[in-house]
């Protein structure tokens, strides 16, 4: 069923509570993700290779580990999840990584602030397995972007690079469209992100052409 290459998604989970770190780790592992947990926003930035510096040029080192999603608690001492979200979105190297916020408190103003700042989702704690399955489409997007940036190798050698890219896009794009139908009230950022993916696809051959050629 899945046309996408089998490499696992790697999620960076941030929470100051040991118990909640254990929970989110298991939830993500159960959804077949590789997980790294850290207990603070500053450690998250360190892990990414992004230091807390105002000088954008100086310390944005090459990301050694590919992270497909960051999921963070909102309420943390020192750097909050919101602060972390801002830093990630301000960073040229890491702004394309989807960020999800978790909180035990249902504060509408907080939720809209996070979504406006570019968070993909806002989960109320306790987070459940059903919530975690919503993350796959967001993580697929980063894989697509990465695939789009480099020529494909190995198994797809016989296909033209463009065709192999489209094959890989079929599954996630269906999910994208489903997502759109289910959630019409998207924040402007979320909608923008999705439109980028869909419009990118318009330049490629249409669905029926691909399925028959595969």
């Amino acid at each position: 069923m899945g046309m996408v290459r089998e490499s696992q998604f790697h999620v960076l989970a941030v929470d100051d509570s040991h118990l909640d770190r254990k929970m989110i780790e298991r939830l993500l592992q159960k959804s077949s993700c590789q997980v790294t947990t850290v207990d603070s926003g500053s450690k998250a930035l360190e892990f990414l290779g992004l230091r807390e510096s105002n000088d954008q040029n100086a310390l944005e080192t090459h990301q050694e580990v590919e992270i497909n999603l960051i999921i963070t608690d909102y309420c943390m001492p020192g750097m909050t999840g919101y602060d972390l979200l801002k830093k990630v979105k301000e960073s040229v190297a890491f702004r394309s990584i989807p960020v999800v916020i978790m909180s035990s408190e249902n504060v509408p103003a907080r939720i809209s602030r996070c979504l406006e700042e570019g968070a993909e989702e806002f989960f109320l704690k306790p987070v459940k397995l059903a919530d975690v399955t919503k993350l796959k489409p967001h993580m697929m997007k980063t894989k697509l972007k990465k695939e789009g940036e480099k020529p494909s190798e190995e198994e797809n050698a016989t296909l033209k690079p463009e065709e192999s890219l489209v094959v890989e896009m079929i599954l996630p794009l269906n999910q994208e469209l489903e997502l759109e139908q289910k959630e019409p009230m998207l924040s402007s950022n979320k909608r923008k992100a999705m439109e980028e993916v869909i419009s990118a696809d318009r330049s490629r051959p249409k669905y029926n052409d691909i399925t028959t050629s595969v």
Binding site: S17, H18, L19, D20, K22, M23, R26, L27, Q29, K30, C75, S104, K125, P126, K128, L129
Partner: protein, 155 residues
């Protein structure tokens, strides 16, 4: 003829159901069980153990803060209550979580007596839950030792 395994399984089922019906556990505990599998066979026990460690630590913090007669830092107590509420919510400890809601209100209104009362209740409640879950885990062990499978209990 009722085998030992069948008896134990029935006890386990009844006990589990009673814990839910009496409000000790809520469906988040069920969610915890979904996360336990062959890869993580002791997950529930591990998480529950972390929860009780949290309880001890946070209740200790609150007690110390409330002990500063005349100079109680209610926001400090409140922040510990907030953390305890989060942990109890994550494991499905329904009664403890409910007490934390009341406790938080006492902190916000800076009611010393209210806080002391809540602290006592939370302490009793978490210890009671700890004993009950220990009994439940013991039943599980007995079932396994008797060669049986732990039944799936639908609440």
């Amino acid at each position: 003829m009722d085998t030992l395994v069948a008896q134990l399984q029935r006890q386990f089922r009844d006990y589990t159901i009673s814990l839910y019906h009496q409000g000790f556990l809520d469906d988040q505990f069920t969610e915890l069980k979904k996360l336990q599998d062959e890869c993580s066979p002791d997950f529930v026990a591990e998480v529950v153990s972390l929860f009780f460690e949290d309880c001890e630590k946070l209740i200790g913090n609150m007690a110390r803060a409330l002990d500063q007669t005349g100079n109680v830092d209610f926001s400090l107590v409140g922040s510990s209550v907030h953390q305890l509420k989060g942990s109890s919510s994550s494991v499905g400890a329904k009664r403890v979580k409910g007490l934390c809601v009341t406790f938080k209100e006492c902190c916000d209104s800076q009611s010393f007596e209210g806080c002391v009362r809540c602290l006592q209740q939370v302490d009793i409640e978490y210890k009671s839950l700890k004993a009950k879950l220990q009994d439940l885990f013991n039943l599980e062990q007995q079932i396994v030792q008797a060669g049986g499978r732990i039944p799936q209990v639908d609440i």
